[in-house]
Amino acid sequence: MARPKSTSTSAAAKAAEGDSDYLQKVKKSAKTITTSSTAEYFSKNLQQVGFSSPVKAVLTTLKEAVDNSLDACEDAGILPELSLIIHRLGPGTLKNTDNIRIKVEDNGPGIEADDIPKVFGEYLASSKFGRGRCSRGQQGIGISAATTWAMQTTARGAKVITKQKSQRKAVSCIIDMDLKNNKGIVRDKTMIEWKEPHGTVVEFTLDGRIQLNGEGGLLTYIRGTILLNPHMTLHYDITDHPKTSVERVTNTVPLIPEATEPHPHTMKLGEFISHARLFGRMKTRDWLKRGFSRINDRAIADIQKDKDKSKRIEDKTLDAFIDTIADDNFKAVYAAIQHATLLPPATNTVMAVGEDGLALSIRRLGDVDYFAVLTRKPAICDFKPVQIEVAIARLKERTGEDTDSPVQVLRFANRVPLQFDKASCAIVKSLTSVQWRSYGLRQPKDSLPLGPYIVAVSVVSPFIKFKNASKETIDASDELVEELRRALMQAGQRLSRYLKRENKADVLEQRVQHMEQFGPVLIETLARILEAPDERKQRATEGLSKILERDTKGLKKDLKDAEGRLSSYLEQKKQRLSGFFKTIEAEEEEAERKLKAGDDDEDTIDAEAEEVESKPAPAKKAKKGKKSKAAAAPAPAPAKKAAPAKNAPPAKKAKAKKKK
């Protein structure tokens, strides 16, 4: 049926009108393109930096605060003493969450008052970014993200108390975030009396969920932090868990090696040119020598000797000032250097805990039955220096009940525990690729080995390649996986030496039983095949008994020898370790003696300080008791005890207070 002409005309007009609306919308949207601040981006993408679930939010907040505290202490050469409080306050505003208070106190150097809003309220504000050092924090994102999460869930920022050694009073304030401008806003700033000589307390109130054990558990994190920081004393108080204090086992603050200049082979062209801009007016030759590691006169001379002229750097470019060089010339310099054979980057920029420190620290994890630790020499992987450490411990508490469960893997990157997304991590990939059967552990194909073990693997490098901004997974490059495999295999060999000794006694015992089990079956089967009469069977049985008697006699002697060797091996190991403890105890006694001598000189001792000093005494005594007991066992018991952590600061703090 034909339509009236007027109707069709109006439809066409409407369509034209629709098109014009659409075009206007497009134009409008094109005009509204805006720029967002870094803080705005992260506030909308907190899952990228470890705040993807309530459980992870609590763990990440704790982790970032502890990382900052430890880094600050180590930078200032202070033996860290941290107190953690994580309490459930009530139901949270978000579904299935609780309102949680996380408080981390350290004895670090404190923060400049002007820097407080930058540290806690500004993204990408960091003293460590791109410095090429093995510090825990790198980019300056984590703690600001924690403040953002706290503000988003409870509308309250981070509460900070901090005091530097030179200050008489501490600064107390609340840091909120100005997301629009990526700035921290200081609120309620006051100067307060604080008994500590220096340090920082940061407190967040946020919505989240407390999980104690498992992959994302707070205790798993704390356990890992304890292992890799033998110089740290930690007190923690978490809801549903008894207050616990773990004392340090070494009195040496690790010296973090200073960064060296970058290696030119680790740079891309853009970075190379930007690097030049940092040096102002300088000749190219001098810039190459001063701005990079592994380039010296000899290396430049080698480049200039290249048979292929195009692979050399023009002399006039070498003598020109870098701020006058055109980008094309930079490209030629860059290409020549990339083509040249240079020494690999230096490995002295990495630091490790060391086998002795690990050996002492591993026993703070629980009742360790046996352990093996290994620190590899620094190596170059993907043109970056890397050092790997491995600790394998067998826990008495897990023996027997958990033999069919996979080993517990503790992963670390620059001494920070990694707890999520383990499947794609280089550490787990290398762990599953090692044939643990040959080291005496059971292992299903392409899986983690089984048994009551903790396998801790630490990767230390100034340039760790993480897969994401939340630093949960290390990228599995072939070279790194191979280096990790070697470390694990070496640690496996050490473990297997012990297991073999231990197993030998079992094997010999089994063999004695073998003759008794198999002998009669052998004779029965032979008699069946030969249809032999009973008399022959009887004679063969008697003959077998004689053989058996000869064998078991010899075996029992072997069994006795093997048991003797095993116990002497354990005794030797125990003696070696007790040596470390004796050194530490001697150091502590010396410190205590000095402290007492200092006390006598003091004329006035305020009552508070006296009270404070009197408290650690039982704890100290208990610690000593533990240590002497530990030295007597093959792998001594951990120096772990329940104590009123915050109420019993150690003697050092008390002395500082007195002086004040």
Partner: protein, 391 residues
């Protein structure tokens, strides 16, 4: 101390003879036990360090090394398991039934389940029972097929328009299979091709064994066997016992030239081709009937890469399989008597080339010479045979 060893004929042991050998072995053990002497079981050592190669014989033969197991606390488990398994095998021979290794593993497990006294003998996995069966074979110098323990009928799909196979079945029936009447269906040789008689209905110029069964099927589908008087066999990777014995049968009964066409890589030369031509170190006692020394290596040859501009690529040393093959090739160059022999100098040179250049080229690369010509591969193969471009 007495030794319970056997000196059997190398081939063609009949059932009664096998039973006799087994009982003889058991009798010696029983006598030793009655005298409170430790019985010793001795078997031929089947490994490369006990392999000899002579170009006149044409295959790897066992040397004088023996593996001995004396009854003591360490070996009692192995010996008891061996005698237990021997009983099962002898019974199979007696009642003329066959089993695969997997089935024997379950037969043994069944006995263990129903008799608590046998519990200690239980096999943890099939590897354990397989090694016991191999030990029995080496001890009796018998093929596992002679002990009625057969393998899967893997590989060996055969096509030809002029070949007739006559099979005498165990019940005496005679079956005649004319391969020319099977259409596109292949003939599959069984585990004991020694029972097969071969006849021809026309001229047969050559037989070609192709590493990839898929490529063999492609050639046949494109009419290779219709245009050429030949036999085409798909090996399906490392040739199974059936394929090796089947090719030996063709060599002995038809006397036609035999060619092998496979990839140019260390695994193919050192493992697949060497096993087909001279047998393997693991089966030294049976190589006399399970390899075809007349087979020639038609390609892919290193020169073919240049000659036909074939697609080749670098060996990925990060790949565990390829790295292992390369390492095994290096070992073979220095330790394998087959490659050390002057007669196989050219093959050794190929291995050297592969180890040095770390390149590989697959047989399917011939197709890339002219992708639009479906007969491209056939033309190259026939050309190579005509020009005697093989090793």
């Amino acid at each position: 101390m007495a030794k319970a060893t056997t000196t059997a004929r190398r081939a063609g042991k009949k059932g009664a003879e096998i039973i006799g050998l087994g009982k003889e072995l058991c009798e010696k053990m029983m006598v030793d036990l009655e005298k409170a002497k430790r019985p010793i079981l001795q078997a031929t050592k089947c490994s490369l360090d006990n392999a000899n190669y002579s170009p006149t014989v044409g295959y790897l033969t066992p040397g004088n090394k023996k593996v001995s197991s004396e009854l003591n606390v360490s070996s009692v488990k192995k010996i008891t398991r061996a005698i237990f398994m021997l009983e099962l095998l002898l019974r199979n021979v007696e009642i003329q039934t066959i089993n695969t290794k997997r089935e024997l593993y379950y037969v043994a497990k069944g006995y263990v389940k129903h008799d608590p006294k046998l519990k200690a003998l239980d096999f943890g996995d099939q590897d354990e029972s397989d090694s016991v069966i191999d030990f029995i074979c080496e001890m009796m110098e018998a093929y596992r097929e002679e002990l009625n323990c057969v393998a899967d009928d893997r590989g060996g799909q055969t096509y030809s328009k002029n070949l007739v196979v006559v099979e005498t079945e165990s019940d005496g029936n005679v079956a005649t299979i004319d391969l020319g009447s099977l259409g596109t269906a292949p003939f599959q040789p069984k585990n004991r091709p020694q029972n097969l008689e071969l006849k021809t209905t026309g001229k047969l110029d050559f037989c070609i064994v192709i590493e990839s069964q898929g490529t063999a099927n492609t050639l046949v589908a494109n009419g290779f066997t219709k245009r050429n008087n030949c036999i085409v066999i798909g090996s399906g990777g490392v040739p199974s016992n059936a394929v090796r014995a089947w090719l030996r049968r063709i060599q002995d009964q038809l006397g036609i030239p035999l060619y092998f066409f496979g990839d140019l890589d260390a695994y193919t030369i050192q493992n697949i081709y060497r096993t087909l031509k001279a047998g393997s170190a693991a089966s030294l006692i049976r190589n006399s009937e399970f390899c075809a020394p007349e087979v020639r290596f038609l390609g892919v040859l290193p020169d073919d890469i240049k000659k036909y501009d074939l697609v080749d690529y670098a060996v990925r040393e990060a790949d565990i399989g390829e790295a292992r093959a390369l390492k095994k090739a290096k070992d073979a160059i220095s330790n394998d008597p087959f490659f050390k022999d002057k007669k196989n100098k050219e093959l050794k040179e190929i291995l050297d080339w592969l180890v040095k250049n770390k390149r590989r080229c697959e047989q399917q690369a011939y197709i890339s010479v002219d992708p639009r010509d479906p007969l491209c591969m056939e033309k190259i193969l026939i050309d190579k045979i005509k020009k005697k471009d093989f090793i």
